[in-house]
Symmetry: D2
Subunit: 340 residues, 4 copies
């Protein structure tokens, strides 16, 4: 497993995340259309922000590159990060009136969730190459680029610069494709930037659909095996390809392959699982765990998240994940991670 | 009073409003900074939308020109208008991804309110001159232009076109200055457009500060008397100049002047009063009431609004205003509207 | 004629123009499609700039509000204005990379001219309300607004502010409609702003098509008589409505009407005539001439211009116009200006 | 030399160029400031367009990806390409009012040239990923990306897509850095995109300053040797680094290095040489010449260009270059290309 281990060593941070910090408004009176919901709870949100909170809850050391709005919501998210021991030295305020992205979630039923996003002039997309401090990059063992940061300039160039510097300094580069249709102008634009960053990555995380978007130019056949073979040749060490309710597959450059099955849980909502997965998986890698163990830990966190009202607020600590794993293992002898 | 009466006659609508429809999120756990509030109630908002609801609650017939977002919040506000018997035939959906404006209110104490607005690419500012249907204008007895609609093209040109057509068809033109700093690029821009519409108006409603903004080019002395004299010469029939907690002054072209004092109430928040005032005052004018009676009715509605959690949802009907007036008159012999 | 006289009195300038300064490139090898022309002469251009040069050649005192590019073409036009004794104290440089507008003229034959304009991010449209110096306005006897300045913000607001201040200080306001399709986004937008400025004007100059554009909202019948009657009621003192090769009609508020016939000339190109007309007509008004004399003088300048290669460079002085008038009067007893 | 040969084989084109097509206006009355020049000759311009013309004059088969304006200048450049036997099947017209870029050249003296560019809403920068036809890419032996195409979206993504497809189909990718400060928003943005394309290139052409811009993130020492070593490791086969009047250096991945000295000529202007160099050098590579021969041929074309009024119009054919080389070789025994 040495090849996948994220070794902090003398570095300050296990992981530096780059991308969107948002505010989620989740309805309290859910199980109906959003237009009819009257009361909402406010949470920190945004995929890389959730991952940062998740890893920090697991005692990982986390840094962040972001722009947040110069208003009360900017205060809220910065205060929240501080409370969660995430370093905020490289989270700065917007100066052009950009507003932090909002996500209003619609939970019609446990299996019918959708979101209404406010992403016009979003604060996170104003992250600038000037914000990308070379010394800060150097102080991390790994860098996670959220694909949403590539949707628009200048955040796009900030992310590309960060990735180039991360390569220069030998960080593990993680690309979480995190596709959101907002702000992109064409499918080709998506493929252009996803494929550039995917080629620079050591670890690629995404759904099957996200891999398809990334590979549109290359004439692949849309199977996980072909994707793995293509990206391993480009230098990617680990791919995790998610298939929603069917679970996920993981492919290591050395040839090992794993199937990860979903775990039993009483589901509340259809989102948030991916961020739990990523944070707990990456935690396992920082600990040098064997990959199957890290994958199982990730899948358990994902399962807990889709049973919770919030994404950030409900990120589990290690004890909570362990308890859950013990519980489901006691109910079934079957393993959730198997080599294929 | 005949000169000020808004006579519906054969027209379909007493009033057609033009401008922003928004969604308000008011904290349930108020009396603290917004960043610390965790739970919010969702209401229809936006000054002209609130006025429309207020007048409709008083049994006025109301039409509306607006653009709202093509999402669940657009559904919410349209459904709300329908429920309140406001005509929605000229409320259409945005096509360019514009989002309905949001207002998060911060109520630190009854006297310290502020707002955090989401107005980037706001739906209402995408109202286009093409949306301004000449026949619809002709079907109204009065047109209310909210000054916020002038902040940006193409809404700006839509409002100017509507005002020009309203003049052509002899509607009473009401200009509610409704200054919001968002979206404007300079003070001169504000004065240019405010003064153009003020010259076209029959009725001008605004705070002292809003009148000052409107008059910046003209070398006036900043007193209500000078403002009244200036705008009466330009053809304005009625000015209502508001002074916050001190009450307001009203000036009629025929020379009559009135002082309106604030009424006793247990205040919850510092906003919403102006929309109550406008809707109840305009209701009085549609009924052909004497101006002092209409002003008192307006002031009573304003008073009830600042004691309520919502702006739209809590717009009073006639009975509620009458009861409140009876109550305060029973407590004090002093009148709230006096000729000066 | 006293009502139309532009009386300089104690003022510094007979006329202050506001709007576009451009550079014209006219082919030397003309009478073929522009794509095939190989050699071009460079001239100062832009309708209000040409009018300024024309009036200055006639010894009028001229000021100007403009933004020009911060490059060699900005130098060229500023130097040219200085050479022609036009005041350049209120011509400033762009700071955002805007470029001075270019006009490449295509002269396929004397009767088939067209233009290829470079007006993206045009310098003149960056004129800002901050550039409109109240004292400078006060120092003019008349202000000429070119309609092109209304096509886009912030030039639009600069022009509206200038017109409002000109009204405040009692200047004669001249609105030269000067319609150019570039930069406008809709017909309604055109009508909105043209009609606002036309209402503020003392003198309206335009082609029949330009008047039609201005009057779209008002249900007029498209005849010059109806236009005159409508705008006289709004306060306009003089309308000059141009009909291309058929000549033009002039309407005075006191009821007098004149027909102006085209004068015989060997035509080179189909443009530039209007600017000659305006400058010489306005010159006549500054001199307190009877209107028919001023109109004849204008028509003569127009005639000389369409026989010349340049618009600015070939603006005639008084002697040249007088000589031409003597010549055509010696050839024909018929008058070119007749009361109708 | 086999490694550098651009082998057309069964392909339709030796070279497909991607990027800007412009129109140059060069003063006839030069050797003075541009503001004082009165007469201009119009030529096809733009670095990749000049290279295309140069290679086509040398009997190479050339294709082109471009957007040009939908006006007479768009006609001019398309007609010019057709006349020069350049394929125009993938040159399409802009639909959003973008205008073809203009370059007004200022030739104060043979050694003091500068340019005034019109690049706001430039036609070439509206090239879209949708314009990049996979089959067309496949039909070329080589693709030349001009760095200017990377300055702005959507041209930036079109160029990146073209480069990715060229890699897929095994074309020789040539990156001509061609730095123009217009349209770029920051130095970091430049480095981000230049370095991405440089990593994909087989052949890199640029001045020392252009290489410095490309390498800003990587801590190199600014010498040609270090650049060569860095980019060879990334896979670049040939670097040509230009040093203005001092000549240029060429570095081959196999370790060979050459110095190219400037050739004697009576210079007229300070630009255009680079495009002559590139077209003649690439011609040599399509012919499978030894690199020193191709470099000498390139340097000769460069020399002829700086002695000419136009860039495109004066691109030499093979006989003209041969004659010039014979002439200078007869004057001096010294060679112009030496191994170092």
């Amino acid at each position: 497993m040495s090849d996948l281990k994220i070794e902090r060593g003398q570095k300050t941070f296990d992981l530096i995340c780059l991308g969107r910090v948002a505010v989620d408004f989740n309805p309290v009176d859910y199980n109906k259309p959003l237009s009819e919901c009257t009361t909402f709870k406010k949470y920190l949100g945004g995929s890389p922000a959730n991952i940062a909170v998740g890893l920090s809850k697991l005692k990982g050391k986390v840094g962040f590159f972001a722009r947040v709005s110069d208003d009360q919501f900017g205060d809220f998210v910065t205060d929240y990060f501080k409370k969660e021991n995430i370093d905020t030295s490289h989270i700065s305020r917007c100066t052009g009136g950009e507003k932090i992205g909002l996500t209003f979630t619609e939970i019609k039923s446990p299996n019918e969730s959708s979101i209404l996003m406010y992403r016009n002039c979003a604060a996170d997309l104003s992250l600038s190459p000037d914000d990308i401090d070379e010394k800060y990059i150097e102080s991390g063992a790994a860098l996670l680029i959220s694909g949403t940061s590539l949707a628009k300039s200048p955040s796009r160039e900030a992310a590309l610069k960060a990735a180039e510097l991360a390569k220069k300094f030998g960080l593990t580069v993680i690309f979480d494709i995190d596709y959101r249709p907002y702000n992109w102008t064409s499918l080709d634009e998506i493929t252009v930037y996803y494929s550039i960053v995917a080629e620079m990555a050591d670890i690629l995380l995404g759904s099957r659909e996200e891999f398809d978007l990334t590979e549109r130019f290359f004439g692949l056949d849309g199977t996980d095996f072909t994707s793995a073979s293509y990206w391993h040749k480009k230098g990617v060490k680990l791919l995790v390809i998610k298939h929603g309710k069917e679970g996920s597959n993981a492919f290591v450059k050395d040839g090992k392959k794993y199937k990860v099955l979903p775990m039993p849980i009483k589901k509340l909502k259809g989102f948030g699982g991916g961020d739990g997965y990523a944070s707990a998986l990456l935690y396992g890698l920082t600990q040098g765990w064997e990959l199957p163990d890290a994958l199982e830990f990730g899948a358990a966190s994902a399962s807990l998240l889709i049973a919770s009202h919030a994404c950030s607020e409900d990120m589990p600590n290690e004890a909570k994940i362990r308890n859950y794993l013990n519980e489901i293992h006691s109910q079934s002898k079957e393993g959730y991670v198997t080599e294929i």
